[in-house]
């Protein structure tokens, strides 16, 4: 890494902001507030309770170089077809280093009223929407994103509408230099009874130590049903920061799947607000880490209305000296009677040097609720291995089957058949590469 020298010449966020300010635009007030809030708070440290197990040193060591201009690297459709999920019949929106590429995007005719586009061209009309769900969050990376975001996806499904085919958001980091930082913003609005499947991929070409800071706001209307699959598979030198803010309405169903496979450091903040009765919210995650990777999921599920179900299932497979961090807070407000909340975090440790930090937290102010949580950290179950052996399977096959099953618990919850099957195969292949099977 060339960070030592780059640091001296790299602009601070405040210096870099001059160009954002010059560009102006309808969101300039938000951007200014964002910068001020970030300047006030700075990067979190491990002294902050929410970042206790996750040191941002890999990020702090990098220069701060927001990718304010589109890259001039050229790709073609064939290359994009080769990425994970690239062969499915989907509408595709491609962003390169935080900038929309209309050449690489493929949008078919969606039904009337459905919008699948980039967001930077619609800022005037989104002025009151963007940050409406994330504004109260203290996370400094949201403030930083407010200040610097370049583009991202705008998905709108009208009431009773549905996406004709899944939408695949592809975010590529291509920057060649360390410290290039893409700030991505997505706005997803599913109207009442709307339906759709959304796949969000974060990938990198090359090995530079870039960073991605993505903020996604999803508003899920009454009776709507959205499946959202986030697939983070960036190179091992990158830093990935993501923040999801969702507000769900009556009887809405939202399944969010987080696959955290890449990046040296990844952090997913999930903030779910169950604002009306009858909601079903599923947060389902798999992290697989090796070398010195760290994958962190930090969620707050806010039950603000009665009769809602929320389920969080997170499994981690941790190898070498990597670390998995899980923080799951379920907040049940006093009105939220008949809440049914369930949370599990299971960690499979493949090496003596891997670490799992897991912190379930229940905060309950209603008296008629059912909340459960459980966390495990351990190795493969010897009894299960023996059981498989007595059925004729050797230990290598048995271990592979168990690891695959452990990941499969999560992958199986993905409803979209094609995506689930491809992911299943991908996870299987990654596990096959491991040297821990004997």
């Amino acid at each position: 890494m060339s960070s030592a020298t780059a640091n001296e010449t790299a602009p601070t966020p405040i210096e870099a902001f001059a160009r954002v300010e010059q560009a102006g635009g309808p969101l300039l007030p938000l951007r200014k507030t964002g910068l001020a809030r970030f300047a006030e708070r700075g990067f979190p440290t491990t002294r902050d309770e929410d970042w206790r197990f996750t040191s941002l040193k890999p990020l702090a060591d990098l220069p701060f170089l927001p990718t304010l201009e589109p890259s001039d690297q050229a790709f073609n459709q064939t290359e994009i077809n080769g990425i994970t999920f690239g062969r499915h019949d989907v509408d595709r929106l491609v962003f390169v280093d935080g900038h929309h590429s209309s050449d690489l995007s493929l949008i078919s005719d969606q039904p009337d009223g459905v919008t699948v586009s980039n967001l930077a061209d619609s800022l005037s009309e989104l002025k009151n929407d963007i940050s409406s769900l994330s504004a109260n969050d203290e996370n400094p990376f949201i403030a930083l994103n407010d200040a610097f975001f370049t583009d991202g996806a705008l998905i709108r499904i009208p009431s009773n509408g549905r996406l004709a085919k899944p939408v695949h958001l592809v975010f590529l980091s291509t920057a060649a230099g360390d410290g290039q930082a893409a700030h991505v913003r997505n706005w997803i609005d599913a109207g009442d009874n709307a339906q759709g499947t959304l796949v969000e991929s974060h990938l990198s070409l090359g090995q530079a130590a870039t960073s991605t800071n993505v903020v996604t706001e999803t508003r899920i209307g009454a009776g709507a049903n959205l499946e959202h699959i986030k697939f983070q598979d960036q190179s091992d030198s990158t830093v990935h920061l993501a923040s999801l803010h969702s507000e769900l309405s009556k009887d809405a169903r939202y399944a969010f799947h987080s696959l955290a496979l890449g990046s040296r450091l990844s952090r997913n903040n999930l903030r779910m607000r169950l604002a009306k009765p009858g909601i079903e919210c599923v947060l389902n995650g798999l992290y697989m880490t090796h070398s010195d990777q760290l994958a962190d999921h930090h969620m707050i599920v806010d039950h603000a209305a009665p009769r809602c179900d929320s389920h969080e299932y997170f499994n981690g497979i941790l190898d070498n000296q990597s670390r998995g961090v899980f923080h799951g807070r379920i907040l049940v407000q006093s009105d939220a009677q008949k809440t049914n909340a369930k949370q599990t975090n299971k960690n499979l440790i493949l090496s003596d040097h891997a670490t799992a930090n897991t912190k379930p937290q229940l905060e309950i102010y209603a008296d008629d609720v059912r909340c459960t949580h459980g966390a495990t950290v351990g190795e493969l179950d010897d009894d299960a291995i023996f059981y498989l052996q007595t059925r004729g399977l050797d230990t290598k096959t048995a271990r592979r089957m168990l690891m695959h099953g452990f990941a499969g618990e999560i992958v199986d919850r993905i409803q979209h058949d094609g995506i689930r099957e491809e992911l299943d195969q991908l996870v299987w292949n990654r596990l096959e590469d491991k040297h821990h099977l004997d």
């Binding site: 179950d381 010897d382 009894d383 299960a384 023996f386 059981y387 498989l388 052996q389 007595t390 059925r391 004729g392 399977l393 050797d394 230990t395 096959t397 089957m401 168990l402 695959h404 099953g405 452990f406 990941a407 499969g408 618990e409 199986d412």
Partner: protein, 249 residues
């Protein structure tokens, strides 16, 4: 078929089996009974090759192969099947996938062609029907969330699919109501043939009303202290184990 000679085994320094001799011929059903702590489950574990047991003496021959030199999976491929007292839950591993892998591993070893998905499904569905298992069973993860009865029926299903030469059933009746017991016993009886043998380990006589043994052995303190025919089981039902234990002492 199975020849156990002076088998002594224990955990760490604690001896549990203190010299077992048992001879089982093809076509026979043997019951091993005994009070709790007599070594019944240890015998099953040692036959299947579970880790943690030290065999200090003796040998176990399956058609002249010394089983004790083989890994658990090699024993399974040679035709040993253990129906577990407590079948292990394996979350995330689909039952159909698991069972087909096991069947094909064993077929491969026998030099038989592997079953493709279609032939496997056809075979397994017939057997599931006989055991009263619904079709969604195949999609569920192995034993995960199964009731006690379903777990035991799953053991018998696996046994039926793997077609072992020697089946060891460890307390297969525990936790079963009378209807489930009958289904499980019927399943076991269907598998009985001139080329295989069954060793049924049980605490209670009631299983033996349904799986009728040719021989009954009483295990106590790591030794077989009495052998007889099926009438011995009735005698035990009536008189308990104490009279035998006193005789042995």
């Amino acid at each position: 078929m199975l020849e156990i000679k002076n088998l002594q085994a224990g955990i760490e320094d604690k001896p549990i089996l203190r010299g077992i001799d048992l001879s089982v011929n093809a076509g026979e059903v043997h019951a091993i009974m005994g009070p709790n702590g007599s070594g019944k489950s240890t015998l099953a574990s040692v036959l299947a090759g579970r880790d943690g047991y030290d065999v200090t003496s003796g040998e176990v021959l399956l058609q002249n192969d010394n089983l004790l030199n083989l890994a658990p999976e090699e024993r399974a491929r040679e035709g040993v099947f253990l129906a577990f007292q407590y079948p292990v839950e394996i979350p995330g591993v689909n039952s159909a996938y698991f069972l087909r892998s096991a069947v094909n591993e064993i077929r491969k070893h026998r030099g038989e062609e592997e079953l493709d998905a279609m032939h496997f499904l056809k075979a397994v569905k017939t057997k599931m029907k006989e055991l009263g298992l619904s079709e969604d069973f195949l999609k569920r993860p192995v034993n995960t969330g199964f009731s006690g009865g379903e777990k035991k029926r799953n053991e018998i299903l696996q046994m039926a699919m793997l077609n072992p030469r020697l089946a060891v059933l460890d307390e297969t009746d525990s936790g079963l109501d009378i209807d489930a017991l009958r289904i499980v016993a019927d399943g076991v009886n269907r598998l009985k043939g001139p080329d295989n043998a069954q060793v049924v380990i049980t605490h209670y006589q009631r299983l033996l009303d349904y799986i009728v043994p040719d021989f009954v052995h009483v295990l106590y303190d790591g030794r077989i202290i009495k052998s007889g025919d099926k009438t011995l089981a009735y005698e035990l039902e009536e008189k308990g184990y104490d009279w035998l234990i006193q005789n042995a002492a």
